[in-house]
Amino acid sequence: MSIDFKQSYFELFGLPQQYVVDEGQLASAFRELQATHHPDRFAADSDEDRRIAQQATSFINTAQETLKSPRLRARYLLSLAAVSFDDERDTTSDMMFLMSQMERREQLEQVTNAADPFEAIDEISRDVKKDYKDLQGAFVTSYESDDLEEAKQVVLKLKFFERLMGEIKQLEEKLEDDV
């Protein structure tokens, strides 16, 4: 039993094509599809059946990962609207935004000197998560008013935030290792 690899990720999970996704519905649709297509269901069957199952589940997993991630979901919506991305060259030129990113990084560098580094980093993390959320709201506004160029700019900014959150995570891990 194979699946249609041409359908959109939204169609796959029976979700409306929009930025706000019902996480509960995504999760249960994902599990239902897994329950039918996972290679374990074909453990005692032929290699061919297992290969098909492997392809189907890979597709399901990629789809779920895309729709779960705030940035990848936004990017995917734009790609469905024929907006293209060039990962090598595309970047934001919003100076105010770049400045605020630099400030955040400077704050991070100070964390190890703080009296309680864990508390300091938790605070930065909370602020960054809030900004990240606000930015997603900005995406919805531009996307729904059909300002796709602006929406693309927001997606590029989201990438900066992902990198920043990655750095926060790495620093947290380093702090834990040093305990």
Partner: protein, 623 residues
């Protein structure tokens, strides 16, 4: 025969529909096998009623292989031919094994950058072959207990195992003649054993698995929803376990008894054994009398807890990280399952309970819980429970990536991504007319190539000459449900397709595995002949060495020129014979040399006695 055919109640209804499948916990220290019988999963015992099979393999002189406690007993006397903890070497290069395990009694050989081999008296063996002996032993136990051939097995691996280690485990199973349904992460198996999937009343339940074994620590967070297990995150430390507790107590014992810094191996070993005994006794007592040599003292639980405090804290830090990786709040965790013998330590249970704010589950024997879970999963995958909706979704434990310009790593699949998964990444050429590109596949979380684990390196050739940046090379990573990776590369801008499939290093190629299986099935005569030849060659070396050192010492004083010539002739004949592939020829040449050297040996003995006496006064011999 007919008189013996009495079937068990319940077995007789439809015996042919039940397919025999088992779960195997292939452990570093001990291994177990479990099966579902009459609807209940249990570990299977050997003829002596033992469930735990020590993961030790000994190679005997006659080519026979002994597995388990009998082999373990020889660890003190025949260390070099008795391989313990082979799991630590699975999927590893020689260099890694040495840094990981420190001083080892084994002699490792790395043949052409492939699988490292350990020298034993019956030839070189790989960790894969050693593990396959353990698996064979468990297979025999299962087939004789269950009364039939196994159709499939589920083998558990630590959540931390990387691709090469998983591949090596699967290779060991194939070598043992087992059909692997699935490699299962050990913590996941433990959750299955507790039947947490049966609790259908709770949706979206999150479970933590805390697994502290002898030498490894793993923590995993799983989410359970409507019969589907989903691994949210995994973490841990592959070099932290109960043995480290013993080590801390041993250090304390040496300190207290005033023998700190001792290099006496016997004493250190005694301290480790006493440390272990004290640790185990303190699970039930508040203090225990300890001794080391003539020294005697008391170790209280409080002092013991202080000794292991830092180690326990380290495990809790890994728990903290796993919670964050799962992107959940700690309070959401509904159950904590304890796995591994070291979770019997009350202080570990206490601290884990405090961290997760609930008493951990300890009802199932922590040594058996993983095997039992694997047994349940094997039964399911064999199709014995068609109406069960249990499904295990796994994630990859470590990120997979490629080397890019400047020795940096570009991640293609991030860790904790649900598998199976296929992902492609595009690269381009950076020189004009570049026709080949090296694809270097790495696993790990670090930024630089050196800090990560190299899985495979191959070249994509036949790229049509183009200006720099024009070629489009698509590299595809494919990870299957067992967490095993294949990599394909192709140039797609011109429609010219060149693709390469790689298997990670330190696993065996299909050809190698087939060769080994065939070799082990062919009659043993050739093996015996090979061993005789090797032994005779060693004897030849010994004789040659003895002769050379003797002649270097006194040939000029004791031998005439014709005599020297005679001996050197016999020497070169033995040297030539040694390179033949016939043990009898070598042995004969050794005999010839010994015969030719008889007069020389006699003369040396005389001269030695004279020398020994000449330097001494008569009085010395009187006392």
């Amino acid at each position: 025969m007919a008189l013996l055919q009495i079937s068990e109640p319940g077995m007789s209804t439809a015996p042919h529909e039940h397919r025999l499948a088992v779960g195997i916990d292939l452990g570093t220290t001990n291994s177990l096998v479990a099966a579902v019988r009459s609807g209940e999963a249990n570990t299977l015992a050997d003829q002596n009623g033992e469930h735990l099979l020590p993961s030790v393999v000994r190679y005997l002189e006659d080519g026979e292989v002994v597995v388990g406690s009998e082999a373990q007993a020889a660890l003190g006397t025949d260390l070099q031919n008795t391989i313990a903890s082979a799991k630590r070497f699975l999927g590893r290069a020689v260099g890694e094994i040495k840094t990981l395990s420190g001083q080892l009694p084994y002699k490792f050989v790395e043949a052409d950058g492939s699988v490292p081999q350990i020298q034993t008296r019956s030839g070189n063996v790989t960790a894969i072959e050693v593990s396959s002996e353990i698996l064979k032993s468990l297979k025999e136990r299962a087939e004789s207990t269950l009364g039939g051939d196994l159709v499939g097995v589920v083998i558990t691996v630590p959540a931390y195992f990387d691709d090469a280690q998983r591949q090596a485990t699967k290779d060991a199973a194939r070598l043992a003649g087992l059909n692997v349904y699935r490699l299962l992460n050990e913590p996941t198996a433990a959750a299955v054993a507790y039947g947490l999937d049966q609790q259908t009343d709770v949706d979206n339940k999150i479970i933590a698995i805390y697994d502290l074994g002898g030498g490894t620590f793993d923590v995993s967070l799983l989410r359970l929803n409507k019969g589907v297990f989903e691994v949210l995150s995994t973490g841990g430390d592959s070099a932290l376990g109960g043995d480290d507790f013993d080590h801390e107590v041993a250090k304390w014992l040496l300190n207290e008894s005033g023998q700190a810094g001792s290099k006496d191996e016997y004493l250190l070993r005694a301290a480790m054994i006493e440390g272990r005994r004290a640790k185990e006794a303190l699970s039930d007592e508040s203090e225990v009398t300890v001794s080391l040599g003539d020294w005697q003292g008391t170790l209280s639980v409080d002092v013991f807890n202080g000794l292991i405090e830092a180690l326990v804290k380290k495990t809790l830090m890994a728990c903290r990280r796993a919670v964050r990786d799962a992107d959940i709040e700690r309070e959401l965790i509904a159950d904590v399952v304890m796995v591994g013998g070291s979770t019997r330590v009350p202080y570990v249970r206490q601290r884990v309970g405090e961290f997760f704010d609930k008493p951990p589950l300890v009802d199932i024997d922590p040594d058996k819980v993983v095997a039992i879970g694997a047994g349940i999963q094997a039964d399911l995958l064999a199709g014995n429970k068609p109406d069960s909706d249990l499904l295990l979704l796994d994630v990859i434990p470590l990120s997979l990536g490629l080397e890019t310009y400047g020795g940096l790593v570009e991640k293609v699949i991030a860790r904790n991504t649900t598998i199976p998964i296929t992902r492609a990444q595009e690269f381009t050429t950076f020189k004009d007319s570049q026709t080949a590109m090296t694809i270097h596949v790495l696993q790990g979380e670090r930024e630089t190539v050196e800090a990560n684990r190299s899985l495979a390196k191959f070249a994509l050739r036949g790229i049509p000459p183009m200006v720099a940046g024009a070629a489009r090379i698509k590299v595809t990573f494919q990870v299957d449900a067992d967490g095993l990776l294949s990599v394909f590369a192709e140039e797609e801008s011109t429609g010219v397709k060149t693709s390469v499939e790689v298997k990670p290093s330190y696993g065996l190629s299909d050809v190698e595995i087939e060769g080994m299986i065939r070799a082990s099935m062919e009659n043993a005569k050739e093996d015996v002949e090979q061993r005789r030849l090797r032994e005779s060659q060693v004897d030849a070396d010994r004789s040659l060495e003895a002769l050379d050192s003797a002649m270097a010492a006194d040939a000029d004083t004791l031998l005439s020129e014709p005599e020297k010539h005679l001996l050197l002739k016999a020497r070169s004949q033995l040297l030539a014979a040694k390179n033949s592939d016939n043990a009898d020829v070598v042995k004969n040449a050794i005999k010839q040399l010994e015969k030719a050297a008889e007069f020389y040996v006699a003369r040396r003995m005389d001269s030695n006695i004279q020398q020994a006496m000449s330097g001494h006064n008569i009085t010395e011999f009187e006392s």
